[in-house]
C-alpha cells in the first residue's frame, strides 16, 4: 500500500515535470518562431526558414504570442506574423477549439500593442460575434489605430445625423476630435458649419499655411529638377533662409515673398496665388517649432515634381508630373529636433499644355502615424472646433 502510494507520487511528479518541461519547450519554440519571422529581411532572403516558422506556429495555438510579436516589427514581418495568426485560427477552428476571447479582448484594449495586431484580433472576434462592435468601438475615438477611430467616428456621425440640430452639434464635435480621415472630417465640418459652428480644418489636420516662396527658376524641358539653385544649396549647407536675399531667377532677379493659404486643406496654389509659369520651379520654405525631438510624418499632396529638405537634409524627391493630386498623397517619415525645424520644398511645373496639366500647387501637413495632426508648440488647441460664424 505504502509502495503503491510512493509509486503514484513519483508518477505524478514525473508527469508534472514532463508537462512543465514540455510546455516550456513549446513556449520556447513559439518564441523562436516569432523571432525568426520578426527578423525577416526584404529581398526574399530567408523565406524557407520563415515558412518553417509559420508551420511550427500553425499548430501551436499561440494566438496571443503571435499578436504581441507585431509590436515593433517591420511591415514585412507583420505580414508573415499575420499569416501565422490566420493559420493558427484556421487550425483552431478545424479542431473546434475556442479562441481565448477574454484574453483577446484584453489585447485589443491595450493601446501599447500594434494597432494592426489589435485590429486583427478585433476582426477575428467580430467574425464570431458581431456584438463586440457595440461593446468596444465607442471607446476607440482617440485610438492609435486609424481603423478603430474611423469606426468610432462613423458611429458618432450616425448618432448625430439622427439627432436634432442642437443635440447634434456636441456629438459632431466629439466625432471631430477623433476624425483623421478626409471624408469624415468633410462630412462633420459641413454639418457643424450648417449648425453655425466655426471649424478650422487646417488646424485640425495640421496643415502648414504660412510659407516663404521664391521663384520662378528655370525648369524648361524638366531639366531644373536636377539643378541645385541657390535656395537649395543654401539649405543643404544648413544656413538659415535670408529673407532679403536676391537670386537670379528664370525671368530676372527673384526674392522670397510671404504667401499664406487660407484653403481648408492647406493648398498653396502657386498658379493662382503667384503665376503658372510654365517650365519653372519654385522653392517654398517654412519653419516648425517642436517642443522635443520627435518622429513625425510629413504628408504632402502635389501634382508636380518635388524635393523636400528638413533641416537641410533631403528626405525624399519624386519626379512625376500631373498624375493626380490628393491630400496625404505622399507620407514621408521625418525626425524633428527640439526647437525650430526648417522645411524647404522644391515644386516643379513642366510645359504640358493639356487642361488637366495646369495645376501648380502643394499642400503639406505634419502628423503622427494615425494621421492626427501634430502641431507646433505655439499652437495650443489640438482640435479647433468652436462656436461662431460660418467660415
Amino acid at each position: 500500500m505504502r509502495a503503491d502510494c510512493v509509486y503514484r507520487r513519483m508518477l505524478l511528479s514525473a508527469i508534472v515535470v514532463f508537462t512543465f518541461t514540455s510546455e516550456r519547450s513549446r513556449a520556447d519554440d513559439v518564441a523562436d518562431s516569432i523571432k525568426l519571422l520578426q527578423s525577416i529581411e526584404p529581398g526574399g532572403k530567408g523565406t524557407g526558414v520563415a515558412r518553417k516558422a509559420v508551420d511550427s506556429l500553425a499548430t501551436s495555438g499561440a494566438v496571443l504570442s503571435v499578436l504581441k510579436g507585431f509590436r515593433g516589427s517591420s511591415p514585412l514581418a507583420v505580414n508573415w506574423l499575420r499569416n501565422a495568426f490566420e493559420e493558427i485560427v484556421t487550425a483552431e477552428k478545424a479542431a473546434s477549439k475556442p479562441l481565448p476571447v477574454e484574453e483577446l479582448k484584453g489585447f485589443i484594449a491595450d493601446r501599447s500593442e500594434s494597432p494592426i495586431a489589435r485590429r486583427l484580433a478585433y476582426e477575428t472576434l467580430r467574425d464570431q460575434d458581431a456584438a463586440i462592435e457595440a461593446e468596444l468601438i465607442p471607446d476607440m475615438l482617440l485610438d492609435p489605430s486609424p481603423e478603430f477611430r474611423r469606426d468610432a467616428v462613423a458611429k458618432l456621425i450616425s448618432e448625430a445625423s439622427a439627432a436634432e440640430a442642437a443635440a447634434a452639434t456636441p456629438i459632431y464635435q466629439k466625432a471631430m476630435s477623433g476624425a483623421v480621415h478626409e471624408d469624415q472630417v468633410k462630412q462633420i465640418a459641413e454639418a457643424l458649419r450648417k449648425n453655425g459652428e466655426t471649424v478650422n480644418i487646417q488646424k485640425h489636420f495640421g496643415f502648414l499655411s504660412q510659407w516663404m516662396v521664391i521663384g520662378p527658376f528655370d525648369n524648361k524641358e524638366e531639366k531644373g529638377f536636377a539643378v541645385a539653385y541657390t535656395p537649395e544649396t543654401t539649405a543643404a549647407e544648413g544656413k538659415p533662409l535670408d529673407p532679403a536675399a536676391e537670386y537670379d531667377g528664370q525671368l530676372g532677379k527673384v526674392k522670397w515673398q510671404a504667401v499664406v493659404t487660407e484653403d481648408d486643406y492647406g493648398v498653396l496654389d502657386i498658379a493662382r496665388q503667384i503665376q503658372n509659369y510654365k517650365g519653372s520651379l519654385m522653392y517654398a520654405s517654412t519653419s516648425w517649432k517642436s517642443d522635443r525631438e520627435q518622429n513625425v510624418e510629413v504628408r504632402l499632396g502635389t501634382p508636380n515634381a518635388w524635393k523636400l529638405w528638413v533641416n537641410g537634409k533631403l528626405v525624399f524627391e519624386r519626379e512625376e508630373y500631373h498624375r493626380s493630386s490628393a491630400m496625404d498623397q505622399y507620407k514621408v517619415p521625418v525626425s524633428l529636433k527640439a526647437g525650430e525645424n526648417i522645411l524647404l520644398l522644391k515644386v516643379c511645373q513642366n510645359e504640358q499644355t493639356q487642361d488637366w496639366a495646369q495645376k501648380y500647387q502643394f499642400q503639406l501637413r505634419i502628423c503622427d502615424s494615425t494621421g492626427s495632426a501634430v502641431l507646433p508648440v505655439s499652437t495650443t488647441a489640438k482640435n479647433d472646433v468652436t462656436s461662431g460664424e460660418n467660415r
Partner: protein, 403 residues
C-alpha cells in the same frame, strides 16, 4: 543546341508536371496571355439561368479571376486607404469560399478612383499563386493559403509608383515570376524566383507611366519562352531566366492595352495595331493598321482574326494576314475588360456589367445574347471547364450552362 533542349524541356515541364494545365486559366488573359480559352465550351445563350453562382468578395478589385483545377483565385483590396490586401480562394463548383488571407500593403496605395490597389490579376504555376497589387506588393501563397514569400517592391523601391495606380499583371514563365514596375519616377522589370521569392534579375525600363502587362512568347525549337515587355518605347523580348534582352521593337507602343501572341506572331498595340513575327533572336514586321486601334482592352487574336475594342465600345475585327479591318460592331457602353474567345464566340463585359456573346462571321459580328449583371465590371474574365468567371467590386460570378 542548348536552346533547343531548353525549349523542349520547358514545354515538357509544362506537360509533365501538370496535365490540367490546358484547362486552367492561370494568369491575366489566360495561360498564353492571349485571351483564348482553348477547347472551352461556354454558354452562348446568357440568362439568369446561366449564373451558376455569385459569391460575395471583400473590398474592391479590378483584378480578374484565375482558375487552377477546382479553385478560383482572386485578389481584392479594402480599407479607407486601400491598404488591406486580400487573396480569396473559392471552390469552382460550389462558389463557396475555401480560404481567404489578408495582408497589409507596404507600398503606396493611392490610385485613381476608378482603379484600386487590387488591379493586377493574379498568376499561378499550378503549385503556387502570385498576387500583385498596385502598391507593388508581390505575394506568393501555396494552394492552401500559406505564405511562401512576400516581396514589398513598393517599400524596396519607394519611387516606383504612380499616383493614378499601377495595373501590370505578373506572368509566370518556367520558374520565374516576371513583373513590370514602371512609372515616371522609377521603372524596372524583374524576374523573381517562384520558390524562394528572390530576385533573379532586374533591368531598368523606360521611365514613364505604363499600365501594360508582360506577355509570353512560347518556346520554339530554337528559342526558349520569352517575356515580352511593352512600354511607350515599344516591345522588348527578354529571357525570363536571366533578364537578357533578346530583341527590341522600337517603334513605340501603347501604355494601356498589351501585346498578344498568336501562332508565333505578335500583335502589338502600336500605331494602331502592328504585327511582327519573331524568329532567331530577330523579328520581321508584318503589317501595321491604324484602323485597328485598341483602347483599354487588349487585342484578342484567334483563327486569323484580331479583335480590338475602342473607346466608344466598337468591336473591330481585322485580318491577321494583312491588318485590314473586316467588320465593326457597336456594343453598348464602355469597356475596360479584355474580351475572351472560346468555342468560336467572343465574350465581352462592359463597365456597367453587361455581358455580350458575339458570333464572329466572315463579314460581320452578331450579338447572340447579352446579360445585364448590374454591377460594375472592369476586370478581364477567365474561363475553365465550361465556366466563365468574372468579378465585380462586390462579387465573383460564374456563368455556365445549367447542369
Amino acid at each position: 543546341m542548348k536552346r533547343v533542349i531548353l525549349g523542349i524541356s520547358v514545354l515538357a515541364a509544362f506537360a509533365a508536371c501538370d496535365s490540367s494545365f490546358a484547362a486552367d486559366w492561370r494568369q491575366f488573359r489566360g495561360n498564353a496571355a492571349n485571351s483564348v480559352a482553348v477547347d472551352e465550351s461556354l454558354p452562348t445563350e446568357l440568362s439568369g439561368e446561366t449564373i451558376a453562382w455569385k459569391t460575395p468578395l471583400p473590398g474592391r478589385g479590378l483584378s480578374g479571376p484565375i482558375i487552377v483545377g477546382d479553385k478560383v483565385f482572386v485578389s481584392s483590396s479594402s480599407g479607407y486607404g486601400q491598404d488591406r490586401l486580400h487573396v480569396v480562394c473559392v471552390n469552382a463548383d460550389s462558389g463557396e469560399q475555401v480560404w481567404q488571407r489578408q495582408f497589409d500593403a507596404t507600398g503606396r496605395t493611392m490610385t485613381h478612383d476608378k482603379m484600386c490597389n487590387a488591379t493586377p490579376t493574379m498568376a499561378s504555376d499550378g503549385e503556387r499563386v502570385y498576387a500583385f497589387f498596385s502598391s507593388n506588393d508581390l505575394i506568393c501563397l501555396d494552394m492552401q493559403g500559406k505564405l511562401q514569400w512576400f516581396r514589398g517592391l513598393g517599400s524596396e523601391f519607394p519611387n516606383a509608383s504612380n499616383s493614378l495606380g499601377m495595373s501590370s499583371s505578373p506572368v509566370v514563365i518556367g520558374s520565374t515570376v516576371v513583373v513590370q514596375v514602371e512609372s515616371d519616377a522609377e521603372a524596372f522589370a524583374c524576374g523573381v524566383d517562384t520558390v524562394s521569392g528572390e530576385t533573379k534579375w532586374q533591368i531598368e525600363r523606360p521611365r514613364a507611366a505604363n499600365w501594360t502587362s508582360p506577355s509570353v512568347l512560347p518556346a520554339t525549337n530554337d528559342q526558349p519562352a520569352l517575356a515580352l515587355l511593352q512600354s511607350s518605347k515599344g516591345l522588348t523580348a527578354v529571357d525570363p531566366e536571366t533578364g537578357k534582352i533578346v530583341w527590341n521593337f522600337e517603334k513605340g507602343a501603347s501604355t494601356i492595352p498589351s501585346a498578344t501572341v498568336s501562332d508565333g506572331a505578335i500583335v502589338i498595340p502600336a500605331n494602331g495595331l502592328t504585327a511582327i513575327r519573331p524568329s532567331g533572336g530577330k523579328f520581321e514586321e508584318l503589317w501595321n493598321s491604324a484602323g485597328l486601334s485598341p483602347a483599354t482592352p487588349s487585342p484578342v487574336v484567334i483563327d486569323g482574326m484580331a479583335y480590338v475594342m475602342n473607346n466608344a465600345g466598337v468591336l473591330s475585327a481585322g485580318n491577321t494576314s494583312t491588318g485590314e479591318r473586316v467588320w465593326q460592331l457597336r456594343l453598348k457602353g464602355s469597356f475596360s475588360s479584355t474580351p475572351i474567345a472560346a468555342g468560336g464566340y467572343i465574350y465581352a463585359f462592359n463597365e456597367s456589367g453587361t455581358a455580350f456573346v458575339v458570333k464572329p462571321e466572315a463579314d460581320k459580328g452578331v450579338v447572340i445574347s447579352e446579360l445585364d449583371l448590374a454591377e460594375t465590371i472592369l476586370c478581364s474574365p477567365g474561363a475553365s471547364n465550361g465556366g466563365l468567371y468574372v468579378r465585380s467590386d462586390q462579387h465573383l460570378i460564374k456563368l455556365a450552362n445549367p447542369k
